[in-house]
Amino acid sequence: MSLLLPSIINGLTTGAIYALVALGLTLIYGVLHIINFAHGSLLMLALYAAFFAKTLLGLDPYAALPVLLLGFFALGYALQRWVIDWASHGRDQNILLVTLGLALVIDNLALFFWTSTTRTIDVPYAFEVVDLGVALVPLPRAIAFVGALVLAALLWALVGWTDLGKAIRAVAREKEGARLVGIRVEHIYAMSFGIGTACVAAAACLLLPTFYVTPQVGYAFVLVAFTTVVLGGMGSFLGALVGGLLLGVVEALCGLFLGESLGQIGIFALFILVLLLRPTGLFGARLA
Amino acid sequence: MLEAEGIVKRFGGLVAVAGASLRVGRGEIVALIGPNGAGKTTLFSIVSGFETPDEGSVRFDGAEIAGLPPHAIAARGLVRTFQIVQPFAGLSVRENIAVGAHLHEASRRRALAAAEEVAARVGLADRLDQPAQALTIAGRKRLELARALATRPKLLLLDEVMAGLNPTEIDAIVAVVRAIRDSGITILLIEHVMEAVTRLAERVYVLSQGRIIAEGPPASVIANPAVIEAYLGHGAAARLEGASHA
């Protein structure tokens, strides 16, 4: 019993990261109506970027966050505009395949250049803890939790309350209509993809102090992110947030009661069940 | 042959069809008219199995069909066309029509031959080898009709096959539809082109805001004040009356 609460808190902090990754994915899905199979690869790339920022430049991941945010926004924008859109002729199934192709390229280039060695960084605050009274939480995890929630709120405000957000929602709902009222659809697609990719960069910076990076790391995350997005309802922000937190807790509890390796199966089983029984997710609402 | 009774269909808060009933007898051409958004297409979708009604029953040849999937209803001989044309874009006209012919024809060769025959009936004979996406809007409407016809239906539901066509094209389609009826196929059609309705239909139903507000021969229905109001707004019948006296 004494392990239960810390486990749940632990799950919530992981879940906040899942939510952040899933928010990016759900934004891209909501606007482009395709699943970005390269999302996990971009997360892996961002983890390496944060890793090298620390080891080569001595930049703390939290300090690197704004830089990476911008850098990955630009990368995502460029990928959508000049690779995905360029190659897919706007056909849904081709977009799906192009993102798969991107994932292949990014993952295997990483494997080639950085090998499959597991890398971690040393930060001075790694073992500091926050005392919540009922449980001790490692400081980086507490920061990750708060950071992820703040970023999720910012994203929500961006899409809900700004002109850009209005344009994004218009394109998500009816792209031809949006085009008619003068919205540059290709630009909005790329902006959405860029913002979705920036989410991944933020997740990477918050994650790295308590995590590791390998070329395969994105793969594990992207499946969780898919599950989160499906669980929360494709294109639903609130769904991604709640879904991410929920999955974090489920995973932590499965790990506690069933052991690590079966926890993974648990996530897949949940994923398939949700897909089959409720493909609109627990929160049917869409971005539009 | 077709009896729809008390059909209700809601989309969220919107009641698209609010207790509409209609009957079509064997060998008839019946028209369903009404202002935009009246629920005509929704009624077709219910009858053909693409939507399930919230209330009401649909009987075809004496058997209840509400709730059956579309393909099962089509197999019984009740086939619809789509208002927004739905061609198999990547296939040729011949292949498009052959898909319909395959409903009762297992052999590929005979289905393709049947496609040619049907294409001739609707005036697509010289377009057989063109890709469907190369057709003009008039051509696509004909293709919708041809595919449905190739299934050898008993009852054909035509959703605005004349919308967007010029008068010459309409003349041609009117003749085609009449020929289809003369070959023994019953027809229920949605149409905004009044001239076509008066020339083709023996009976007309008028749907407005999900309800049938009038029924009868075209001439009498068109003169019905309730119908005029439904189309032109409240008080329109009285204004028209006044105008013709002045």
Partner: protein, 313 residues
Amino acid sequence: MRHWVFGAALVAALGVVPLVTSSEFWLTFFLMALLFALLGQSWNVLGGYGGQFSFGHALFFGLGAYATGILQVRHGVPAWPAAIAAIAIAAAVGAALGALVFRYRLRGSYFALVTLAFAEVARILVASFDYTGSGFGILIALAPGAGNFQFADRRVFYWLAWALVCLGCLVALWLERSRFGARLIAIRENEAAAQALGIDPLRTKTLALALSGAIAGVAGVLYMQIFLFADSHIAFGPTMSVEALLAPIIGGLGTAFGPLLGAILLHALGELARHATGGAPGLNLVLYGVLLIVMLRFLPDGITGLARRRARG
């Protein structure tokens, strides 16, 4: 018509490879290309003709390989009946998966995701139990002999693979000329319109997935008998799923000979890449990824599509 002749010529040329070269390298090269052509054809049946893009075809390949291996190793079933049973299992799982997934109307991204998830679940499960070889994989004892479905002479396997690829092409040609194929293609082009014309999408797509599963199962069985070994990563891994979809997309989706053409091309490229880089791991996959993207941009209908365009104008 012309591309049909070209395809037949390609198949015929492949049939005489063992007669013109005795090089172990070339024989293995073409044998692998044939094996992946078969897997590609399996994907093509569902993805090319049916328009349902699976990202988890490794599931069926793996089932074929593992079922035949386990039946032989754990239950002493003779190789040939084991092979037949394995193919039947792959087909049955395809049918069951189709009935489940298509009933819930999963399409597009959702279908890709759910197939990927099923393949991953299978991979993890297989690696978790001793019965399925856990982390070590399945190893069939070497016992050459026709009765054991093991041939000391590589050429026998080659011709067997070749014959099966021919059969795969015939299945595709049958799809292009049959009512079932017409229905499947109609669903790919426009599901609502297909339904309106009396086509049952659930039934048609489920049958297509069963057929596709069976063909992938054949490829898996063949792989197992050739190498006498498979582990969960090889047989159920995402790389296999990617190989399955690349060949038909590059060769020409929904064409009878596209997967074969694509598989040969891919393996030539992969081999070149291996030589150029001295066998660095993963670089062939980088190349595949780039190729996929570039192909979609410049030849969205694959190489066969290019040939057709040339032929027309």
